[in-house]
């Protein structure tokens, strides 16, 4: 778990190919701990320091309502790695989440600046006095739709 993450550069769509919409998809998000706001920035060099929503690279936020910890015995909050195809029970409560952030204007602005790839920086913000190292996810995808 981390408080801040900056990705490798993610390729933007070709500037000469028009699109209607662009989404950043965050796969495999952990939601077992404290609730948080994730502020997202897109910039060719990444974003450091105490950037907030007024930063020019800020593209939006997504939110996670967290479980706030584990209230069971040992193993209660372990997500099963193998699932029997005949197991009709609901999925484990902590199966990872997906968030979709629409970033159409931000991608257009980057393309107008001749940017071909941008790093995605994500910073987690929790309630006061709550540790902010709550960020864990598997993958970011940038999808554009014609």
């Amino acid at each position: 778990m981390v408080e801040r993450f900056t990705s490798d550069p993610i390729e933007l769509p070709p500037a000469d190919r028009p699109f209607q919409r662009s989404d950043l998809l965050f796969y495999g998000l952990d939601h077992s701990g404290a609730s948080f706001e994730a502020r997202v920035f897109m910039d060719p060099r990444g974003v450091g320091g105490e950037a907030d929503s007024r930063h020019r690279a800020y593209v939006g936020s997504f939110f996670i309502l967290g479980h706030g910890g584990c209230f069971g015995d040992v193993g209660h909050c372990d997500i099963p790695t193998d699932r029997d195809p005949f197991d009709l029970r609901p999925a484990h409560q902590l199966e990872p989440a997906l968030r979709i952030l629409t970033v159409t204007d931000a991608v257009r602005n980057l393309l107008e600046r001749k940017v071909e790839a941008a790093k995605v920086t994500v910073t987690a913000h929790t309630a006061a006095r709550t540790p902010s190292d709550v960020l864990a996810f598997e993958r970011i995808r940038l999808a554009t739709y014609a």
Binding site: A34, S35, F63, I64, H67, G68, P90, L98
Partner: protein
């Protein structure tokens, strides 16, 4: 909007009940809501407020569905059945919705933010938490730590989400807004395990349910994908299909309502 549900062949038409904006409740409607909540708080069995709040979170099992494909249907069933429990005490009472997009000046509606109502404890301000529902032993009552009202979701943000035609994208983006309001409210509302003990939870989720309803009206051909329709919404005796049409559940959403008597049949 149809003012009444479509009657079955042997059914007389029933008037729908309206869920109303929490800011626009009449004095009588607000008194009814408070009376219903108070009545369920006095019941210690599976008809009571504590039981219903506990279904969402603690005590285990935590049954709510978050961050998965049944988020909206599960919570629609949950609200419907809790509202039925309230109506067992005050017939006709409905859950109001908290329009956080329109309340940037005051944040939490005054019906829920005032500690006292008519000289007595306001049952919408907070709630006890049963011992088995506490995340920590000292958490005997619900609390809030709201952010600045200006950080609540804006009408523009909601409008962008409502434009989605795909159900899963709509639901995922709406859930993020929903999560943000939980985080904004803070305190008990900020954790899945305890959120439903706060009476404000029900008004917040009524707003989420209303937005799903508005999305359904706007995109009539883009509903819940067929493979999900027969999925059960445990622990409730309902499937996803049962939640699709709110008029079949007997309610509708209205900003406000007013009524006058007709001439009668005498």
């Amino acid at each position: 909007m149809s003012p009444a549900s479509t009657p079955g062949p042997t059914q007389a038409p029933h008037a729908l009940r309206h869920r109303r904006s929490a800011r626009r409740l009449t004095t009588g409607q607000l008194a009814d809501l408070r009376a219903a909540i108070t009545a369920t708080q006095r019941i210690g069995d599976d008809r009571g407020f504590q039981h219903w709040a506990g279904i969402h979170g603690l005590p285990l099992p935590i049954s709510c569905v978050h961050h998965r494909e049944l988020f909206l249907p599960w919570h629609r069933a949950y609200l419907y059945l809790f509202e039925k429990a309230l109506q067992d005490h005050v017939p006709g009472v409905t859950l109001p919705w908290w329009d956080w997009t329109a309340e940037h000046a005051e944040g939490i509606p005054s019906a829920y933010s005032k500690r006292k109502a008519n000289g007595r404890r306001n049952p919408l301000f907070d709630s006890p938490i049963q011992p088995s529902g506490r995340a920590v032993p000292s958490q005997t009552r619900t609390t809030r730590a709201p952010g600045a009202p200006g950080f609540l979701p804006s009408p523009g943000e909601v409008e962008r989400v409502l434009k989605n035609r795909d159900f899963f994208t709509f639901q995922t983006q709406l859930e993020s807004i929903h999560d943000g309001v939980h985080v904004w409210t803070g305190g008990t509302m900020a954790d899945i395990a305890t959120a439903a003990y706060d009476p404000l939870f029900w008004a917040h989720h009524s707003m989420i349910d209303r937005l799903w309803y508005l999305w359904q009206l706007r995109h009539p051909g883009a509903g819940v994908p067929a493979p999900l329709l027969d999925r059960a919404l445990a622990p409730f005796p309902m499937t996803v299909r049962d939640t699709i049409e709110i008029t079949q559940l007997g309610y509708d959403y209205a900003a406000s309502t007013a009524a006058v008597k007709g001439p009668g049949h005498g």
